[in-house]
């Protein structure tokens, strides 16, 4: 077998593995049935909100949480904010016993989200009575801009979630809160605004279809991944992880997925809650989006250190271990693809150029590949946008759906940029990341009049 044939064969096998995976996530997603609600009063709920410079959004988040979830306590972890976040929360905490402020200061602060959540865990342990029923206490992690759906606790208390004593953690579906905002970039106009709107829509499609479908498959393989927003964990499960590994949350850049691995290694189930959701801001900026995704991708790559533990664990199902391994190796396969696909094309074109008839003949004889490429290289991405339009956000005509489908296929190419950046950072040992700014922080001064008077009061 020549080198060229080997590369083409490898490309074909990788394509088929990818298509198999698409089929495997699509079927359970389309066939899933609605989960039953449970009684939230059967549990104690504590919402952890890690914050750093969140003055733009924290008050709205607090309002929503205390209004929508009267049973829950809210723990705001201020990670040495330089704005008025801590002061705003402190004022609210003094007026409402269900609001707690966990203040972290440098040099202990700013060690990552995992460290902030561990601080909240310690503070909660100090606050809870010694005889607290930790099996019936659930920790909810919500981002500072997170909007948890009002039915979240009912779903989390359901018989398939924490109503089942083997469930250690659950992850809510993720929606984009600004998906229907026609002007997601404050102050921007024209093409920039259109581009921002496009990016936001694509992220909503991605989370509500592709990622949701992956989670539905994991529901069957018992390897559901936890996210950083809308994450639920039983306190007794966190105790078990802390007992075995010092702290519940760890240092990976994808500390949420890492926690999910620890939950499963400890012998508990992770479940996915598709019938409730947490809404978060999608990023309408290309650079910020690529940065965020690079961080996630690098974090996923870091989690490969758990592969051997997963393979040897009796607490992982066989299907779960294989699914988790595929998920963790996916960035590396994609990295190989960034080299493989162009190489296969170039070799094929070069062979065509030196063959009788030259490039023109080669182009004519290889035109048959185009429909196959559409079917195997475009449809597996585009179909998610069509499903989204039909099931989630039926806006506009079928032309809108087709536009989203093409847009989603093109949007997915960002992953090639992301995976290369993540790999380079991984090799160079660069793990530092700055926090992603909220969109409101990009607003021109005149566009955010509500925040200013409140800040003055605090100061």
């Amino acid at each position: 077998m020549t080198a060229s044939e080997s590369l083409q064969a490898l490309a074909f096998v990788m394509l088929v593995i990818f298509l198999s995976y698409v089929c495997m996530i699509l079927v359970p997603f389309l066939r899933r049935k609605r989960d039953e609600d449970g009684d939230p009063a059967a549990f104690a709920w504590h919402v952890f909100v890690p914050c750093r410079d969140e003055e733009a959004v924290i008050e709205d988040t607090l309002d929503r949480l205390v209004t929508d979830f009267p049973l829950a306590h809210v723990w705001i972890v201020d990670d040495h904010s330089t704005d008025a976040t801590a002061e705003l929360v402190s004022m609210r905490a003094s007026a409402d016993a269900r609001i707690h402020l966990v203040r972290r200061r440098l040099p202990e602060a700013r060690q990552g989200k995992g460290a902030a959540l561990n601080a909240a865990y310690r503070a909660l342990n100090g606050w809870l009575p010694a005889d607290a029923d930790r099996d019936h206490t659930v920790i909810v992690v919500v981002d500072a801009d997170g909007q948890l759906a009002p039915n979240a606790l009912h779903q989390a208390a359901g018989p398939r979630a924490f109503g089942d004593p083997t469930t250690g953690a659950a992850q809510a579906a993720v929606w984009m809160s600004n998906r229907n905002d026609d002007r997601p970039i404050p102050g921007a106009r024209g093409l920039r605004q259109w581009w921002g709107h496009y990016l936001v829509r694509m992220q909503d499609i991605e989370f509500r279809t592709t990622i949701a479908a992956m989670q539905c498959l994991r529901g069957h393989t018992l390897s559901v991944g936890l996210g950083g927003n809308g994450q639920f964990t039983r306190l007794a499960t966190l105790d078990a992880i802390a007992g075995a590994a010092d702290t519940p949350w760890h240092g990976s850049l994808l500390e949420d997925y890492e926690l999910g691995i620890h939950v499963m290694l400890a012998g508990f189930r992770n479940v996915y809650l598709h019938d409730t959701h947490v809404a978060q801001e999608a990023l309408p900026f290309t650079g910020k989006l690529l940065t965020q995704r690079t961080r996630w991708c690098q974090g996923g790559m870091q989690c490969t250190k758990y592969l051997s533990q997963i393979f040897f664990s009796r607490n992982f199902t066989n299907a779960g271990a294989i699914e988790a391994a595929y998920f963790m190796l996916m960035p590396f396969l994609q990295l190989a693809g960034t080299v493989l696909w162009p190489l296969v094309f170039l070799i094929s074109a070069a062979q065509g150029a030196i063959a009788p008839g030259g490039l023109e003949t080669w182009l004519a004889t290889t035109a048959w590949v185009v429909p196959l490429m559409l079917l195997t290289g475009v449809l597996p991405f585009a179909l998610w946008a069509l499903i989204y339009w039909k099931r989630d956000e039926r806006r506009g005509s079928i032309l809108t759906a087709l536009g989203w489908a093409v847009g989603y296929w093109l949007y997915m190419y960002q992953s090639y940029v992301v995976v290369i950046r993540a790999f380079v950072r991984l090799v160079l040992g660069r793990n530092g990341w700055s926090k992603t700014k909220r969109i409101a922080e990009y607003a021109p001064q005149s566009a955010a009049p509500a925040a200013a008077p409140q800040l003055e009061v605090v100061r």
Partner: protein, 184 residues
């Protein structure tokens, strides 16, 4: 002596057998790749034999070429190239089954059943592709051949390969009963 103690040697022996089979499967995959030219010759013989009742005239293999329409006015041959060969489809299944057996204590019998079914599906799909391509050639000429060989045949093989991968995984991971920490 506890049940666990009694079962332990059996479990160790079972695991050792799985590892041996895994290594054998990986070695078989490597051997198939190394001997793919000879495999294609065998494949051409099998394809010629199976196609014979369905095409006009007789069929005959010559190396990796399958001749058909012998004894008629139109004799045609197609060569089974490396990239068209069933080797490309079977080898990844063998390697995947071997790797899965190496890293997880899967039920050996189920993996082998899944592998047998998967291998059977991809082999059948590829042989059907050869047969349909030959029939299309005789019925509609080279345009028919191109259509079946490149489009329909490729789709058939891709669909078969996907089905084989899914079935292999399904069989390999069946009846996985996780033990649940303190809740078990």
């Amino acid at each position: 002596m506890s049940t666990v103690a009694l079962n332990r040697p059996a479990r160790v022996a079972g695991r050792a057998a799985s590892v041996l089979v895994a290594l054998a499967l990986i070695a078989l995959a490597a051997t198939l790749l190394a001997l793919q030219e000879q495999f294609r010759d065998v494949e051409a013989r099998v394809a010629a034999f199976l196609m014979d009742p369905f095409v006009h005239g007789r069929t005959a293999p010559a190396g990796s070429i399958v001749w058909f329409g012998l004894g008629t006015q139109q004799v045609t041959g197609f060569q089974i190239t490396t990239l068209c060969s069933t080797v490309i489809l079977v080898t990844p299944l063998l390697a995947a089954a071997g790797l899965m057996l190496l890293v997880r204590p899967l039920a050996l019998g189920r993996v082998l059943v899944g592998l047998a079914i998967g291998t059977g599906i991809v082999t059948l799909c590829n042989l059907l592709r050869y047969g349909f391509a030959a029939i299309a050639m005789q019925t509609w000429g080279s345009d028919g051949f191109e259509l079946v060989h490149r489009y329909l045949g490729s789709l058939l093989v891709i669909a078969g390969f996907i089905a084989a991968v899914i079935l292999l995984l399904r069989f390999a991971t069946m009846r996985s009963t996780p033990q649940r920490g303190r809740h078990s």
